[in-house]
Amino acid sequence: MRTSTRGSRRLMALAAVAALTTGLLAGCAEDSDDGSSDSDGGSGGGKTTLTIGTFGVFGYKQAGLYDEYMKQNPDITIKENVTTRTDVYWPKTLTRLQAGSGTDDIQAIEVGNVAEAVQTQGDKFVDLGKDVDKSQWLDWKTAQATTKDGKTIGLGTDIGPMAVCYRKDLFKAAGLETDRVKLAEQWKGDWSKYVDVGKDYMKKAPKGTKFVDSAASVYNAALGGESERYYDKDGNVIWDKSAGVEKAWDASMEVATSNMSAKLKQFDKPWDQAFANGGFATVACPAWMLGYIQEKSGDAGKGKWDVAAAPTAANWGGSFIGVPTAGKHQKEAIKLAKWLTAPEQQAKVFGKQASFPSTPSAYASLKPQAATTTFFSDAPITQIFSDSAKTIPTQIFGVKDQPINTAISDIGILQVEQKGKTPDQGWDAATKEIKDVLGQ
């Protein structure tokens, strides 16, 4: 008797171990095709769950678009998978696209990554060009998401037309012009004129304040108005002979070497704090940054901030949404992507999140939130940004655009700005870094 119980106990333990092992392995297997298991095609009358993968805040949920769409289409359920950091989101998405599994039905693509997506992942996305009226988007926006053979892999969501947000009260204290139209006139056409205003500001700057948050932000803003960046039309790297880069670099070097910068890094915690403490007087602000400034400055900044047109029409940021061919519900996903990026919906997102539409027909009906308008001293925000948006040049992006940009702004410029290196030394450091990036 005793033997048999011992034996059976052991057998039971064995069985338990085996069950546990297979259970765990099965768990892994189930995980890998998550998202497709909870529905079957959608045609059978059951609910279809569409997943949409985004980074940061897209505003669709905030503007109530998902709820609205689900109400109109009762057989659709929408689930948003948000990854906060772009540098985490994109590698993950790239590997899933290539594995052909695990992608969401709709996948967001940031403008800095869109060239890489167009050039290397073109066959992993559905061609959306046939399903939409492409003329409703700004030409340069659609061009960025179009492959050489004319395939449109993503529909434009928002764009980032640039303006200059400035602290009216600080400008007044420094004895500068405070009227947004006259101010824009002063620096119109060239970012180096904006830097000149900065020099004037520093002569009588209120204690503890600087003219601009960082040299890198000036570089970024100036480069955003150049059509030629790091790559030419044929996809060759030209960062070291690009006229656009040179102009932007020179403007940023003037800032870095003349003590007018608060030497912060954008989107770092201390940068956030500086908004609350009024550490700097201006920041080049794409439309989507307005909400951020408002949030970080808090009520103390209300009515003190104003918006003036930027020296050149420039773009910073903006995204696309594409439908991966690996998705299980392509038809429904295309329909949703089309709806989300239509002018009416883009206008709604602007009303909530200040993400600027990439469809010009939406501009006439844009209504910013009342709180935002009062916060920015009743500046005609929609007017300023739509004027900029219509004249932004088509920018050429390349595969390694992001890492090259990081090398210049976070290595080259930062060394000059924060470590007191000369511009030449900064450029050399950036060169070395870029060569490492490009594997040269």
């Binding site: 064995l14 085996a18 765990l24 989107f267 915690k269 201390p270 890492p403 290595i411 930062l414 594997g439």
Partner: protein, 342 residues
């Protein structure tokens, strides 16, 4: 052919004979409480099979998982490291031989990262373990609310790296950070903690020290409480003071524990990643504008996931693996040496 057949023929009888010749031994192994199973019965065969197989079955889950999530990725990484593989084009892998490794050996960034890993490792591990011993010694006294103190010691370890680092970033911010504010009372100029080489390495180390000191202190405390109290009593009878007792009784008795913590901390320091990444904030994987606190882990992450050069990142991963093996070998040598002298 023939020779192997002959060999088979020669070994066959002995193999047959083996089980038959040792029934007694087998029975003894079954233990006294087990009735001898009838030879050849189903139950006895099952029983014997159970005896032989179940230990393997019990350890199998570990090996299956190690194979799936440890060994295969390890070998796959080795394979990758000999190719040019881009994150955006995983299907296209071109053989480059040892180029990735040669590239590393001639890269300033790699040597810089190696050096940073070493210096940050030393300036975080050494003070951390010294402080841990001191704290453990204090906790070993009879204290009021000793459990409370022990829990307090462990709190930093329970905090997430991200949360802790974000707080430290604010403390160390050069403009308006609390540490620079305190320094200004002593008349020290504001230090740019993130961009200066020593400043940033010190700052990163301080996060590591803050998180791990209490953890190590508790390990030491556990070891100290296992030291028999009569050792202290006889030391006291011989006229040894508190400090002498600590030096001549506590430390020697703690030696194996100290070695253990040194090994664990060294491995942890070699793999240092989260603290410097988050300390760097946006684009933290560069480890500062001059890579001044970029560790090997960060360098690998930057190459693989930011730049997208997976081949080179794999080469870094394997180099790190080899470095860890060397570290382990050195530790082993020192341990042996110490055991011999004991």
């Amino acid at each position: 052919m023939t020779s192997s057949k002959q060999a088979l023929a020669r070994t066959a009888p002995s193999a047959d004979a083996a089980p038959g010749s040792q029934p007694g031994a087998a029975r003894r192994a079954h233990g006294r409480g087990t009735p001898p199973p009838g030879p050849g019965s189903w139950r006895s065969r099952l029983y014997r099979w159970d005896m032989k197989a179940s230990p393997y079955a019990f350890v199998a889950p570990f090996f299956i998982f190690f194979g799936a999530f440890g060994l295969i990725p390890l070998l796959y990484t080795a394979w990758y490291s000999l190719h040019n593989v881009q994150l955006s084009n995983l299907d296209q892998q071109t053989w480059v031989g040892l180029d990735n490794y040669k590239n590393l050996m001639s890269s300033d960034f790699f040597w810089g990262a190696l050096q940073n890993t070493f210096t940050i490792g030393v300036i975080s591990t050494v003070p951390q373990l010294l402080m841990a011993i001191g704290i453990a010694h204090l906790l070993n006294y009879k204290l009021r609310g000793s459990t409370l103190w022990r829990v307090v010691m462990l709190t930093p370890y329970a905090t997430s790296v991200a949360a802790a680092t974000l707080v430290f970033v604010l403390l160390y911010s050069w403009d308006g950070g609390m540490i620079n504010w305190l320094l200004h009372f002593v008349g020290v100029d504001a230090i740019n903690w993130r961009e200066s080489t020593w400043g940033s390495q010190f700052a990163v180390s301080s996060i590591v020290i803050w998180r791990w000191t209490g953890y190590n202190a508790l390990i030491y405390l556990a070891a100290m409480q296992a030291i028999p109290s009569d050792l202290y009593e006889s030391a006291a009878l011989d006229g040894a003071g508190r400090w002498q007792q600590f030096r001549h009784v506590t430390i020697p008795m703690l030696r194996p524990t100290i070695l253990f913590t040194v090994v664990v901390s060294t491995i942890g320091a070699t793999q240092l990643f989260g603290e410097p990444l988050l300390f760097g904030g946006v684009s933290g994987s560069k480890g500062g504008s001059e890579h001044q606190y970029q560790t090997l882990g960060l360098y690998m992450y930057d190459q693989g996931w930011i730049i997208g050069n997976l081949g080179k990142a794999s080469a870094i991963a394997w180099t790190m693996f080899l470095i860890l093996l060397i570290v382990a070998a050195i530790n082993l040598l020192i341990t042996r040496r110490l055991r011999k002298t004991q």
